[in-house]
Amino acid sequence: MTIPGFDDFEKLVRENQRVVYQIALTVLRNPADAEDVTQDAFMRAFAKLSSLREPQRFRAWLYRIVRHLALNRLRASTRSRAREELASANSACLVDVETLAEDREFEARVHFEISRLPEKLREVLLLCAIEDLEPSAVAEVLGIPQGTVRSRLHSARKRLLRALSS
């Protein structure tokens, strides 16, 4: 039996998995949880795919689903706060130990200062950092105007910079 739309779905997963995963990661800040939520979001999207009236809005719809699920997971999980082992896997370049330590320290400080930002600013800052996620898409995910996204992003970066420079 052929599964209607299954091939299309696989393509959609392939194309969107990175952004969906990163949105989950911005909320949850834990790779394992982000992976779970990403899977759940795709499964939910798959179940409702036929009822989507505007296929061109699939991405925004999917992004909202993953954000919603991630927020639910975050609220439900009391462990998530304790886990602060964040993405340091990208620093696979050849640097000396001192530089590496300094970078790690700086990253840790950035993470700490981000966690101290107000929720609204933090969310916009992290979502806007996702590659290929335009401010218009961020606005759609959060359900706020684009101008608000821009002003919040500016405020977030400025506050973060001030905090890091002190």
Binding site: V13, Q17, R18, M43, F46, V110, R157, L161
Partner: protein, 165 residues
Amino acid sequence: MSRCVAMYDELADIAVGGTASQAASDHLRECAVCVAELERYRVLARRMDAAVNALVRSQPPSRLLQRVTARAGSAERPQPSRGAWPGVAVGAALAASVIALMFGLRAPQPPMTPDADAGALAAWRSPTSALLKPHGIVLEAPLHDAWFNVEPRPSRLRTYVWRTL
């Protein structure tokens, strides 16, 4: 110098892409300290952005696609359709149980006949023999009168039954 300190907030604003006011532009033209500070802010802002990007731009695990498609494939597999009838049957059974409880429905008893009554009466045995059996300890040994703190009597009691409660 106090003017420079007051300027720092605006310098941070400029460093993250804000537009410099006329006053800030004028000040930067003549203050090397603030120019250096602005440059420091800009360098810091670049590092900050890189750190934020590194935080967010982790790649999803390679197994993710495989897992999602496997789950979707198993979810898509057609389930045997049971229709609405099993639900109706369960509901009817529940309703029948409730009605049976309400009306005290019991298993039908065999009809009683006079002969059966007589037979049942003849078969009946009184439980008195079992009920009248002494409930206690029978002592075969004689009891000493001293136990009762009374004068000895000519005839000794051979057997006492102590009823225990």
